[in-house]
Each structure stands twice: as C-alpha cells, then as structure tokens.
C-alpha cells in the first residue's frame, strides 16, 4: 500500500467539472483496489479546484484585453497631434513596458498564491503583446515610414513570438501567430500577387503549424508550455491547411502571374526543416502521421492550383469536372482529418473549424463553382449522402483511433 507523502502545499490547479468527476471516480477505484489510502486520495483531490475553462470572467478578460489592445493601435492611427510624435512614441512604449512588467508580476504572484487568477495573467500578457504593435506602428508613423508596409506586421509578430517564448505565455503566442500569418501571406503577395503564390503561402503556414505543434507535443521547447503551445500551433496549421485547399479549389486560381520570391523560398525551406525535425522527433506513429498529413494537404493544394482548367464558367469540360471532383474530395478528406485531430487532442475548436470550413466550402462551391455543372440543391443532396456514408466510416475510424491511443498509453 502506498503511504501518503508530506506535500508542501503545491499551488491549486484548475480542472473542469468533467475532469474532476473522472478523477474522483478513479481515486475511489484505486482506494477500493488498495493502491492508495484515503489520506493520499484526499491529498490528491485537494490539489485541484473546479474551474470552467470558458467562464464569463475569462471571456470578459480576454475580450477586454483585445479591445484595449486594438484601441491602443487605433489611438496611434488617430495621429493625436496634441502631442509631438516623439512624446507619443515614449508614451506608447511606456504603456507597453508597464503592461509587460505587470503581466510578469501577476504571473509571479500567481505562482506563489492562487489569489491572482491565471486568466488575468493571460489577458495582461495578451494586452502587452498587442501594445507592442502600437509601439512599432507609432515609431513608423513618427518617422513617416511608407504606408502599407508588411514588414511592420512581421516585426510585431517576431517581437510577440520572443515575448511568448521568454515568458512561456499563450497570450503573446496568439498575437504572434495571428500577426505572423498575416505578415507572411501579405509579404509573399506584396511582391507578386498570384493564385499559386497565395496557395503556396497558405501551404507553408499549414506545414509550419502542424510540425511546430508536433515538436511541442514531443517536448522540444520546454516542459511547462508544451501542451498550451501545441494547441495554438496545431489550430493554425489546420486552419491554413483548409484555407490552402479552399483557395486551390477555385477554378480561376492557377499559374498566372506566379513568380518565385525570396520570402516564399525561405518559407518553404523553414517549413521543410521544421517538418523534418518533427518527423525525426515524433514519439508515435500517429504523431508522424500528423506531420505527414500537413505536408500531404500542402502538396495536394499546390497540385490543384497548378492544374490549369478553364476559368470561364460557361466552358465546363471533362477537365473542369475532374478538377472540381478532386477538389471536393480532397477538401472533405482534409476536413474529416481536422475533425479527427480535434477528437485526438480533445479540441472542440478544431472540430468546430472543420465543421464550419466544410459548410462554407460546400456553400461557396455550390453557388460559385458548381452552378454551371450541377444545381446547388443537388450538390447539397449528394454531399449529404456522402457525409452520411463518411459519418459511418468516421465513427468506426474514431473507435479504432481511441483503441490505438489506449494502446499507446499502455
């Protein structure tokens, strides 16, 4: 029998009601089997407190941080001429440093005592990362850097990424991923706008996101932040994989005006290196499959974009039929893959993204692409029948996945 250890009252950790319910059931079973004594069971149960991840307080704190951060950037855009540009820059930079320090002070107090809630730490760090954007835009405005300059957003993303990894904060990571994705697509298309360029940029983001998530899951970037950092990277990867296929499926997207540029080549090299490292470090076959799936979606999207068909809606030949059929099949398969990913990682956001993406894709294809080929209503009927069939297959796949995961744990 295990004896209860003397614990130095570690900080309470939040757990959802369902997690707590599961823990209490397991503790009772372990006591019943004689694995632990009642004192240890009580000690273990006392380490967790009930918390709903999506409480109103958390939602309001996040919304508040986003509103204040966007408002700060908007104040920069308002170009308040009551203050000279240098003083405006100093004021915005001081606000940013104060938020940065406040976030870390709250985080340190949260570690020491449970009085400071984690959502408050998250929202202040998020606000500080948004305020860095205001600092960079104010500097650029004060020095009359030309308008619509994508590298400013890229520099903001780089600063937020450094912030995220130095303090291990999820809020700055969200800002870094949003700003970084915006910057990369914008920068690639800034030099030479083209359909294939857009698909390649989205495909690079998909591969980087999925591979970075895999690296975090396998513990390459620090113990504490692994799980919290893996989820945002994975969601970015999944969303951009679906976006790449969406754009590639459009019949007018092709090779026209495409030219390689340094950003695109650099992005592909980075995506290749991260994916190779992720594959090398993957702990299980399913981890490897995730990284490979990101690359597979990227390759299919690029192939679809490079597959030239007529962009004239009145000219629908066998090539256009084949392109449309392959596009729909690939998109449905990718969406099901993202939903499976959501099931595996217990992420409702991935499942919701897959469902939403499928609805938007089907609706868009029905009215914008398939209208001359097949009546929109019939497309819904056909796809509905396909979903019923794939739903049955999907459920079986889910059961097999759950069984495989159980095997992995053992």
């Amino acid at each position: 029998m295990t004896t209860s250890p003397t614990l130095d009252r570690p900080p309470l950790r939040p757990a959802s009601p369902s997690q707590l319910s599961w823990l209490r059931t397991e503790l009772a079973a372990w006591q019943h089997e004689g694995l632990i004594d009642p004192a240890l069971a009580a000690t273990l149960a006392a380490r967790y407190h009930e918390s709903r991840r999506f409480s109103v307080g958390r939602l309001l704190l996040t919304l508040g941080a986003v509103f204040v951060g966007v408002g700060l950037i908007w104040l920069v855009a308002a170009n308040l001429d009551q203050l000279p540009p240098t003083l405006r820059f100093v004021a915005v930079a001081a606000i940013w440093v104060a938020l940065l320090a406040a976030g870390e002070a709250f985080a340190a107090r949260h570690q020491r005592q449970p009085g400071i809630p984690r959502p408050l730490v998250f929202s202040v760090r998020l606000l500080a990362a948004l305020a860095l954007g205001a600092v960079i835009f104010q500097a650029a405005q004060s020095f009359q850097v030309p308008a619509y300059e994508p590298r400013l957003v890229g520099l903001w993303a780089a600063g937020a990424l450094v912030h995220a990894y130095v303090v291990r904060g999820a809020g700055p990571l969200l800002v870094a991923l949003a700003a970084g994705s915006t910057w990369f697509v914008w920068q690639v298309l800034w030099d030479q706008p083209s359909g294939l360029g857009a698909v390649l940029a989205l495909a690079v983001l998909a591969c980087v996101g999925v591979a970075a998530a895999s690296l975090h899951t396998t513990g390459a970037a620090g113990e504490q932040a692994n799980d919290r950092f893996a989820a945002p990277w994975r969601e970015v990867g999944a969303v951009f994989a679906l976006a790449a296929l969406f754009v590639a499926a459009l019949p007018f997207v092709g090779l026209a005006d495409f030219e390689w540029n340094a950003w695109l080549v650099g992005g592909l090299v980075v995506a290749g290196v991260i994916t190779a490292v992720a594959l090398g470090r993957a702990g299980t076959a399913i981890d490897r499959m995730e990284a490979v799936a990101g690359v597979a979606v990227a390759v299919v999207a690029i192939a679809l974009a490079a597959w030239e068909t007529s962009s004239d809606v009145d000219l629908v030949g066998p090539a256009e039929w084949a392109h449309a059929a392959v596009s729909v099949t690939a998109y449905v398969a990718a969406a099901i893959g993202v939903a499976l990913l959501g099931t595996r990682h217990d992420s409702w956001r991935l499942t919701a993204s897959a469902t939403g993406a499928l609805v938007v894709f089907t609706t868009f294809q029905s009215f914008a692409v398939f209208a001359p080929i097949i009546e929109g209503a019939w497309l819904f009927v056909v796809l509905g029948l396909i979903f019923l069939g794939t739903g049955f297959t999907f459920d079986r796949a889910r059961r097999r996945l759950a069984a495989a995961l159980e095997g992995e744990v053992r």
Binding site: V76, N79, A101, A139, A147, A158, G159, V162, H163, Q192
Partner: protein, 159 residues
Amino acid sequence: MISMVRKVGVVSVTGLALAAVAVYPQLSARLTGEEIRLRVAPVDPIDPFRGAYVDLQYPDLRLGGPDPRGIDDGDSGDVYLTLRPKGDVWVADSWTRTRPEDGTYLACTDHTWRVRCGIESWFLPQDEAAEMEEAVGDGAIATVRVDDRGHAALVDVEG
C-alpha cells in the same frame, strides 16, 4: 524577482530593437542625412494601423518611358536613383541597379507597380490630411533627408 526583471528586460530590449529595425532607414537618414527638396503631388488614403496619410508622388523622380515605374529593363528589385540639383529642388538624373559609389542618390525598390523610396507617405490627423490634399493639389515641396546609403526620411511637406 531577478528572473522577472530579466524576462521583462529581454522582451523590452527585443521589442525596442525591432521598433528600431522598423524605422532604421528613416532614423539613419534623419540623424546623418543631407537635406534636399523635391516637388510632390499628393492624394489622400488611410492606413488601417497608422491612420490618414497623404500619398506622395514625385514627378521629378520619374524618368519617363512607357513603363509606369519609369524603369524598363524587364527586371525588378533594388534600384538607385541618382539626383542632381535643378533650381531650388532636386531631380532624378539616372537610375542604376548597383549602388553608386558617391554622390546623392535614393535607395529604392520597384517590386510593385511603382518605384518606392521610403518617402511616399506623410502621416497627418485625418482633417489635416484632407486640408493638405486641397492646399497642395497644385504641387508642393517635400523636404527629405538622405544619408550616404541612400536611405531617405521625409521631414516636411510645404504647399
């Protein structure tokens, strides 16, 4: 506590360094550059992150020819416009794809539909931007500082 100060210090220094990178050409030109005056013709759009600005075109920096960029070598990328004084203002003399060894010149790019030299936007409060557009519609003079690497910073625009 030391760890917290170190984290805040690292992130602050990184962020301020990135802000300096964002404005490096303009900062260098303002601190070390020579002042020149150029004729401008403005229009008035909005940047979502930085607000209203007057978009400036420089008639004397366009070298002519059928290409809207004024450069028709079929290539794009870095381009350097050498300048010479003409009366009270400076005008483009010629262009080259390699950095000139001496003289006053602007370091520009022609990746997009026009040549950009880092002096195309003059940010102002929205009402002032509209007023300036009207006031200088018939032409204006921009004061620009240019350093020895061709980095340019817009210092003033007068109607």
